[in-house]
């Protein structure tokens, strides 16, 4: 008997790529849709906005009725799901938002916060009380929660939130990735700072989801080492987790909420999984994305295209990631 497909849509930042990078068969079996690099735009969803454009992974576009959106505010890359009737919408939030808006913008002079990972302070760091950092992170999360509430109210299926993976301790690896994306050699904040801020963001996101009755699928502890940083088995380029991480968290999610674990583990080579999914993803997001000019005010269009260029740069980086994934042939740990 053929089992009814489970429809899952994923939104998130580039770390979602880790989850989807081995999804080829899973996508086929479960009608899982494409992915958007969307976190930093997601936070700008406005209640008074109107329509929402989705870009299917097959390249077709459509307006989606259950999420309203002002493209000029949200950015055309927000939407990726084709499954407007899908029962699950999974959002992975945290990494880009946390890094770009908190760690880089506020942390250019370096800082540290106290508990829970005290110590290991960088020599040039400044001490900032946890209370102050918590206020800033909460302020950054406010629009994200407004967007989540909007989605939760409009989406007919189930909504789940994933956290971003724990940060990588390796600053050199992170700086190399930043250099590839931006073309500039920028120093990364001290690992302890990145860890503390991202951990705080994670905690507040989890607590905020709980207060709003939103499902938060907490994958942090299962993917972190005892020092709080990402388990080296899941580390990849300093910023993103690897496909093994994606398999781990997705299997755990499917096992717990979909009962799909028994159908899941993919036994094929990891590099094939990753390569197929990555290339499909790149084509889906950037190959057939319609130009947004008619929907954007002139002064917004340039910015939107600049953002697209940035995202394309990220996908180019993903090409290299795919090459490196070819070297990974281990099976994912069982959930």
């Amino acid at each position: 008997m053929t089992q009814a497909p489970t429809r899952i849509a994923l939104l998130g930042d580039s770390n979602v790529l880790a989850i989807t990078s081995f999804w080829s068969d899973f996508v086929r079996d479960h009608e899982v849709s494409g992915v958007a690099l969307a976190t930093k735009y997601f936070r700008d969803v406005r209640e008074e906005s109107r329509d929402f454009t989705f870009v299917r992974h097959d390249g077709r576009t459509e307006l989606h009725p259950w999420v309203r959106d002002d493209l000029a505010e949200v950015g055309i890359e927000l939407a990726a799901s084709a499954n407007r009737d899908g029962p699950w919408l999974v959002l992975q939030l945290g990494a880009i938002l946390c890094y770009e808006r908190l760690i880089l913008n506020f942390g250019d002079t370096d800082f540290t916060i106290d508990h829970p990972f005290s110590g290991n302070n960088h020599l040039v760091a400044r001490l900032v009380p946890r209370e102050i950092v918590e206020r800033r992170v909460s302020e950054e999360l406010e629009p994200t929660f407004r967007g989540l509430e909007l989605l939760a109210g409009a989406f007919p299926g189930k909504l789940a939130v994933f956290p971003a993976p724990p940060p990588d301790r390796d600053n050199a690896r992170l700086e190399a990735t930043i250099a590839q994306v931006t073309g500039a050699r920028l120093p990364a904040p001290p690992p302890s700072v990145r860890l503390k801020v991202q951990w705080l963001y994670h905690q507040l996101l989890r607590e905020g989801c709980a207060r709003r009755g939103l499902l938060f699928h907490d994958t942090w502890q299962a993917t972190a080492s005892s020092d709080g940083f990402i388990d080296p088995r899941f580390a990849f380029d300093g910023f993103h987790a690897n496909a093994r991480y994606g398999g781990n968290v997705l299997m755990a999610f499917c096992d717990r909420y979909l009962g799909a674990g028994s159908r899941f583990p993919y036994s094929g080579p990891w590099n094939e999984l990753g390569e197929t999914a990555e290339l499909e993803l790149a084509r889906a997001i950037f190959g057939a994305t319609p130009r947004p000019a008619p929907l954007l005010a002139p002064d917004r269009a340039d910015d939107a295209y600049r953002q697209i260029d940035e995202l394309k740069a990220l996908v180019r980086l993903k090409d290299e990631i795919i090459q490196r994934l070819a070297g990974e042939r281990e099976l994912p740990p069982q959930a």
Binding site: F106, G107, D108, T109, F111, T112, D114, H115, S118, G119, N121, A125, R126, L127, V128, P129, R130, E131, I132, V133, R135, R136
Partner: protein
């Protein structure tokens, strides 16, 4: 009429002309140095000195802050953590001994120290700056880390300032019996616990204050030969005295010693001058009422009078009468002074701890 040395004295030398009939009290005969709007002016001292930084900014002059708040802080939060209140995050420095200790620790001349004070909530207070981190640090490591940054900032401050305004507040202080480390606050008030075996009360003598200030001047000059020091005495009375004397007598004793010591330094050193804040605010002869109802807090009018005197005497480009520069909104100087200006006083913790009788 026979000749007399009093003949030809300037008007400020005569009580009637200089005090009774003057529109506003400017009790400085001749300033030793001049400042302009680019002169980097630093502040340090007692509660009253907290008024000076914002007043300098409002007057269009350069308030030099060597230890600004990290970007994550909003202005009101920064103030709570003592950022920008003085030119570095000293906390209140009430005594000449504490002032000297701040400088000597920053430049490695002294290693005076006191073990961290633990709070009931498991936090850690820096006994050398007990009020700067509300609630205390999470652990000793972070306390020492923050202190290290502060002391580096003090070094940068001293090496780069043009004028340091230091306001002397008290002669009464508490110290460690073992090595004489000056404690800005009595153990048991802001933090720590009082143990008479460990701590002793000291009421600094004139000779001791002069000696402290001499060491400070020597150290500052060694690291910044062009630096000027402008001493003043806070007009704010003691909130309590442990000397055994009536608090009014003790206040008079403290202020007298400080005023005399400041004068001694002014006379000995070309780079040291005196700003008569005490004379302007606390004098009993003029009819201005510069103290609030508690007879301690200085009204904004009093601060403004001191600053007008400061600018008139020292500035080659004083603010115009209609000039009231609106500070950057991100600065604590943006706080307007229409109401009584709030200051963060460690001394007030005594009143908080012991109620109205204090």
């Amino acid at each position: 009429m026979s000749n007399s040395p009093y003949r030809g004295l300037p008007s400020f030398a005569w009580w009637k002309a200089g005090v009774v009939e003057s529109n506003e009290l400017h009790p400085i005969a001749t300033a030793k140095f001049r400042i302009d709007r680019d002169t980097k002016i630093a502040t340090c001292g007692s509660c009253f000195a907290q008024h000076l930084g914002p007043a300098l900014v409002r007057g269009g002059h350069s308030y030099f802050v060597a230890e600004p708040a990290p970007a994550l802080f909003k202005p009101e939060e920064a103030r709570d953590y003592h950022y920008g209140i003085f030119s570095a995050r000293f906390g209140n420095v009430y005594t000449s001994r504490a002032f000297c200790q701040v400088l000597e620790r920053a430049f490695g001349v002294s290693s005076s120290d006191e073990p961290p004070w633990n709070t009931e909530r498991g936090r850690v207070i820096d006994p050398l700056r007990p009020g700067v981190h509300p609630g205390g640090f999470s652990n000793v490591h972070e306390m020492l880390f923050d202190r290290g940054h502060h002391e580096a900032s003090v070094r940068a401050l001293v090496e780069n300032l043009d004028v340091l305004v230091f306001t002397l507040g008290l002669t009464e202080m508490w110290e460690r019996r073992s090595d004489g480390t000056a404690l800005p606050a009595c153990p048991g008030t802001i933090g720590g616990s009082y143990d008479p075996e460990l701590y002793a009360f000291r009421n600094l003598s004139y000779e001791e204050v002069v000696a402290d200030l001499e060491r400070a001047v020597t150290l500052i000059s060694r690291h910044n030969p062009r630096a000027k020091l402008l001493l003043s005495v806070s007009p704010v009375p003691l909130i309590a005295s442990y000397s055994g004397d009536h608090v009014l007598a003790a206040t008079t004793r403290s202020k007298s010693v400080l005023r005399a010591a400041a004068e001694a330094l002014r006379q000995r050193h070309a780079q040291v001058d005196y700003l008569p804040a005490f004379e302007i605010v606390a004098n009993p002869w003029r009819r201005e009422r510069y103290f609030a109802d508690d007879l301690r807090s200085v009204r904004p009018e009093g601060v403004a009078a001191v600053m007008r005197c400061f600018f008139a005497a020292f500035s080659s480009d004083p603010p115009r009468p209609d000039e009231h520069r609106k500070p950057d909104s991100s600065s604590i100087a943006a706080r307007e002074d229409d109401d009584l200006i709030a200051v963060l006083c460690d001394e007030d913790r005594l009143r908080e701890a012991y109620g109205d009788s204090a």
